[in-house]
């Protein structure tokens, strides 16, 4: 299958310090590729090169002619002085209110349409960002640390949503992560980055690769989760007044951050 984006031998330096060296990367439709690596490994730099926000110093980058990127940045900080509600936030991507509502419905936060952005929880914020990325009708989703600031239960739900979106849209997904357990279960291919590509392959292959073990230690057991129950997002986070309420009787007992 033709790649959506293909990087060959990409290198990048900042102030003569090499951040990336000879990186190959390739995302095809319908596959989730996850970049993992320690802090300072160049993950964000690589994502910025993929997005065209940074120019590589060397190597080649091929983008497919019909590439449409939906980008979900690592963290959104909205200054409290900026009055911004979720519906207004989505208008940056699309001026069609029906489409915006549909995107919110798809990510499970339609009830937050009129919510102030700076009052959203971590998980709600990530879902809103995902909705904005979806509104661009992307064939490539670039998700920089999509579960940051979300608790474990919420992370699992988000990864599940990302997997569903991949199936529905048949888009390629490039994801950045530094957590290991959950993301390994949610991805087709792992690229382990530490300035260069240490190893890559399926999660099963990578988790036993000596270079991976050297970076992350041998303790990393692959997280395979078996669902024994489902959460209903709306009843979970909504009380009668329409305000968000934390964990009203989650069967797991833990707080649910979605």
């Amino acid at each position: 299958m033709a790649a959506l984006i293909e990087l060959n031998g990409v290198g990048k330096s900042f102030a003569s310090r090499a951040v990336l060296q000879a990186v190959d990367l390739n995302v095809v439709p319908g596959r989730i590729v996850t970049l993992i690596g320690p802090n300072g490994a160049g993950k964000t730099t690589l994502v910025k090169i993929v997005l065209g926000l940074l120019q590589a110093d060397s190597g080649s980058i091929q983008r497919s002619a019909d590439l449409r990127v939906g980008y979900m940045p690592q963290k959104l900080h909205i200054d409290p002085t900026l009055p911004l509600q979720v519906d207004r936030f989505l208008r940056f991507a699309s001026s069609d209110p029906a489409a915006n509502l549909a995107a919110l419905q798809r990510v499970g936060i339609a009830h937050l349409l009129k919510q102030t952005v700076s009052a959203l929880s971590g998980g709600e914020m990530q879902r809103m960002l995902l909705a904005r990325a979806l509104l661009r009708k992307p064939n490539l989703l670039v998700l920089d640390e999509p579960v940051q600031g979300v608790d474990v239960t919420g992370q699992e739900a988000l990864y599940q949503l990302i997997g569903e979106l991949r199936d529905e849209l048949n888009c390629g997904i490039l994801m950045v992560s530094h957590d290991l357990h959950l993301v390994m279960a949610a991805t087709d291919e792992v690229v382990c980055l530490n300035q260069h590509v240490c190893c890559h392959g399926t999660p099963q292959q990578v988790s036993v690769d000596p270079e991976f073990v050297a970076l992350f230690g041998g303790k990393t057991a692959l997280y395979t989760h078996h669902h024994d129950h489902e959460h209903d997002l709306h009843s979970e986070v909504l009380n009668s007044s329409g305000q968000t309420a934390n964990s009203t009787g989650s069967p797991c007992g833990g707080p649910t951050d979605v």
Binding site: P83, R88, F92
Partner: protein, 262 residues
Amino acid sequence: MYDFLYLALLGGLGVALVAGPMGSLVVWQRMAYFGDTLAHGALLGIALGMWLTWSSTLAVIAVCLAIAGLLIVFERQRLLATDTVLGILSHGSLALGLVALTLIPGARTDMEALLFGDILTVTVAEVAVVWLMAASVLLVLWRLWPALLAITVHEDLARVEGVAVDRVKPMLKLLLALVVAISMKVVGVLLITALLIIPAATARHFAKTPEQMAVLASVIAVFSVCSGLASSWWLNTPVGPSIVVCASLFFVLVFAVYNRRV
């Protein structure tokens, strides 16, 4: 009979209208110090105008634009933090302006008018320039509004979605330079930033969308100019500071009422 008063009001209103959306952007992007720097540069502009015998409005606009340009260039280096660069330019140009004004032979300067505004002596031509500039700035802000807002929210995301960030960002600074240049006559060098940020900060309490905040800030600025002029007329106080005092009173009032409710 009170022609000068109407003229002052007209000039003040032109500035107040543009202060709403521009002030909101200054608040959101934390550019208050940037505004101060431009305002201090305006003093240097006055000195330059006298020296070259240009019209002072023209000279102020030229110097403000030049300082904005300098800052745009300086922002691209990483050796010094932006607020350090701003501090150097801000106080450097203020000091240079003050020194230059005393050195220029024959320059009879009313320092108080420069520092705190002198709207009551505004001429028809100056009011025309104020309205021309204010209208142009409002027009450009209107056109760039979605892009400016997208950049305020998240610059990289805006860039990925096709916003011409590298064109729009410097544009905002140039527009701010123009607003500062036309505000100088109304409230003076030291109080320009106040006229930008206080109405916007007051409007924040009521606004649910960025657009509401921008429009409401203009309304509050208009009220501040009107009430400032009126109180200056009745109490015989300087106009510029009176306008800022009124704006501040509105802010304190709204803040007190709003925070009691929360």
